[in-house]
Structures are given as structure tokens and as C-alpha cells.
């Protein structure tokens, strides 16, 4: 939707609040893959991640008037998605079906965006992908969240601080500790 591209996220939500349903479609178009990546890396299961992203958009639809143009729209939608993902993890822990070995990459096929790689790079990259994905799942929740938002989603520290509701200094410290922890885990996996 080329016409949709000229609007900022805040413009789109404002238009949606005024009854423009096409604005909502554009929001879905912009955020569905980004949110899926965030949720998938957080909870590790692709099917459930899609459900959570669907629920995120349903919440946006139902509660559109709850958004006020004080914070960025991306902060709001990531907060919703993050809360839903955390709820899902808590449910899993209560059900005790969460298993480190039950990862998303070997499960049902999911679409990856195409990148120009040689076959060797593809093989190596898939292998590394598995190791990295598994290692991320082993991180404590608060480390996992920040490292996904910072190093995978490439959000600013300021935005991450608003999404999680924690001071900026704490976010930077967590990101650092998360990277150190991940480094250790990756070393263990390789060994």
C-alpha cells in the first residue's frame, strides 16, 4: 500500500481511531513480521507466536482508543505483544510442558526472509541459528527480552526502557549482562 507508506505509525493509529479501517490493515502489514520475530525469539514456538501476534492485533483493534499520542505507537504495540508473550510463558511453566529441547526451528516449517548466501554459508548459518536460538531460550526472561529488542529488533535503549518500564541505565546494564551470559552459553553449546 504505497499510500499507506506516507503516514507515520502515529498517523495511522489516529486515522484508525477516527474510523479508518484501512489504517488498521496498514498497521498489521507493518508490524506483523516484526512482532512475530520478537515473540518467536522470546517463546521459541512459531505456531504459538503467530497466535500471540494475532491476539496483539485484536487487542489493538478493541482498545484503539486506549492509545494516547504521548508515547510512540511502536512502544505501545510492543508492550502489548511482550505482555502476551510473558503470559504464555507463565502458563507454560505452570503446565510444566516447557522443555529446552522443544525448540521452534525443527518444528513446522516457517518462512524465512531470503538472503543471498552460498550453500556452505546456508548450512553453517542454519547450524548457528539453532545454537543461537537455543541459547536465547536459556536466558532468564528479563535478559532475553532486552537482548531480543536491542540486538535482534534493533530498538533504541530509550524505547526499550519505555516498553519494559525500567530506567535507561538498568536497560543498558541488562543488555550488557545478557550479552555476557549469551556468550557463555554459546561457548557451552559449541563445546
Amino acid at each position: 500500500m504505497s499510500e499507506g507508506n506516507k503516514y507515520t505509525d502515529e498517523d495511522l493509529i489516529a486515522r484508525f481511531q477516527n474510523g479508518d479501517e484501512y489504517a488498521f490493515d496498514e498497521i498489521v502489514n507493518r508490524y506483523k513480521d516484526r512482532l512475530l520475530n520478537f515473540v518467536f525469539r522470546f517463546i521459541g514456538q512459531i505456531d504459538e507466536s503467530e497466535d500471540i501476534v494475532q491476539d496483539t492485533f485484536l487487542k489493538v483493534y478493541k482498545n484503539k482508543n486506549s492509545y494516547e499520542n504521548i508515547a510512540r505507537f511502536s512502544t505501545w504495540i510492543y508492550t502489548i505483544a511482550g505482555n502476551l508473550a510473558k503470559t504464555e510463558l507463565r502458563k507454560r511453566k505452570r503446565r510444566r510442558i516447557f522443555s529446552i529441547s522443544k525448540m521452534g526451528i525443527d518444528d513446522k516449517e516457517f518462512e524465512l526472509s531470503s538472503t543471498a548466501r552460498t550453500p556452505e554459508e546456508n548450512t553453517e548459518s542454519i547450524f548457528n541459528e539453532k545454537i543461537i536460538h537455543n541459547a536465547i531460550q536459556k536466558l532468564p526472561d528479563k535478559f532475553r527480552t532486552v537482548i531480543i529488542l536491542r540486538d535482534i529488533q534493533e530498538l533504541s535503549y530509550d524505547e526499550i526502557s519505555k516498553i519494559i518500564g525500567v530506567p535507561l541505565g538498568t536497560i543498558k546494564s541488562r543488555v550488557n549482562r545478557a550479552r555476557l551470559k549469551l556468550r557463555e552459553l554459546l561457548k557451552d553449546f559449541k563445546n
Binding site: L36, Y61, S113, S125, I132, H133, I152, K172, R179, L186
Partner: protein, 176 residues
């Protein structure tokens, strides 16, 4: 600078957030410490690997499913609104709803009553509310009552006749 400080400062160092003095100290330590130099290299590899992770995409029917869920949501919302109207939560509104239903019942009953009283009913089917039917019934019942009275009277007179016969029979017996 100690190795611990170096490692804890890495993020700030890479983000260019250290003061000039801190930056110099960090750089000097990196050049002098083989372990920390190697550590920094691994640290950067971690960040690089994360940014290069393949991006997943939503399934092709993602939006179709979402629109279906939105439709279900709007239907559910409509049903809830109807439900709230029929079974309202506040006492005052509930009372009004009950009164309204009662009024409807009375009105429909009256409608049926007046409607059938002018229609006269069908063939062979007595119309209960017809005045002519009621009158007829009254007449019938009074005639039935008369008939019963007459039966009683005739029964009594028969009894009297029997008694007389018995008495006469006794008299004749006694004579013998």
C-alpha cells in the same frame, strides 16, 4: 583498569558513551590484556550473530485468519449488547424490563380476548369467550339442574310407592 571493569564497560565502550578518560583506559587495557582482547572479539561476534539471525515471516493466511477473528469479535460484541438489554444489570432497569414484559403479556392477552370475541370461533369449535356460548352454557346448566331435580323427585316418589307397598304387604301378613 581491571578485567571486570573492562567487561562491564564493554557495552558503553561500543556505544561510545564513555568519557574520554574512561575510553583511553579501556583501550589501553584491551591492548595489554590478551584475554580481554579475545573476550571483546567474542562479544562482538555474539552481537553480530544476533543481528544476522534469519527473520521469520507470518504465514500466508495470517491476515485472513485475523479478519475472521475480528468478525467473530464483532458478533460476540453484538450478542453481549443484546444480552445486556434482555438481562440488564441494574435493579431499576431490571424492574423496568420486567414491567415491560408484563405489560406485553397483558396486552397480548387482551388482544387475544377481544380478537376471539368478535370472530365467533370455527365450525364445531366452541369459542370459549363468546357471550352466546356462555349464555348457552348457563341455559344448559340450568336445564340440567332442573332435570336432576326432577330425577330426584321421581326417585323420591318411587321410594314412597315402595314404602306403601311394603306397608300393605306387612298388613296383609299380619292379618294372616
Amino acid at each position: 583498569m581491571y578485567c571486570n571493569d573492562f567487561r562491564n564497560n564493554l557495552t558503553s565502550y561500543l556505544e561510545n558513551e564513555l568519557s574520554t578518560e574512561e575510553k583511553k583506559a579501556t583501550l589501553a587495557h584491551e591492548e595489554s590484556c590478551v584475554e580481554c582482547s579475545s573476550f571483546k572479539k567474542e562479544y562482538l561476534e555474539v552481537i553480530g550473530s544476533l543481528s544476522k539471525l534469519a527473520k521469520v515471516r507470518t504465514s500466508p493466511n495470517f491476515e485472513k485468519i485475523l479478519h475472521q477473528k475480528l468478525e467473530d469479535l464483532s458478533q460476540e460484541s453484538l450478542i453481549n449488547k443484546i444480552g445486556e438489554f434482555l438481562v440488564p444489570s441494574s435493579i431499576g432497569v431490571r424492574t423496568a424490563a420486567v414491567g415491560f414484559v408484563a405489560l406485553l403479556l397483558v396486552l397480548s392477552g387482551s388482544y387475544l380476548f377481544y380478537n376471539s370475541s368478535f370472530s365467533g370461533g370455527g365450525e364445531g369449535m366452541p369459542v370459549l369467550s363468546s357471550p352466546s356460548f356462555i349464555e348457552k352454557k348457563v341455559v344448559e346448566s340450568s336445564s340440567e339442574t332442573k332435570a336432576e331435580d326432577e330425577d330426584e323427585k321421581s326417585a323420591e316418589s318411587e321410594k314412597t310407592d315402595e314404602e306403601e307397598e311394603m306397608n300393605s304387604a306387612e298388613t296383609e301378613f299380619n292379618k294372616k
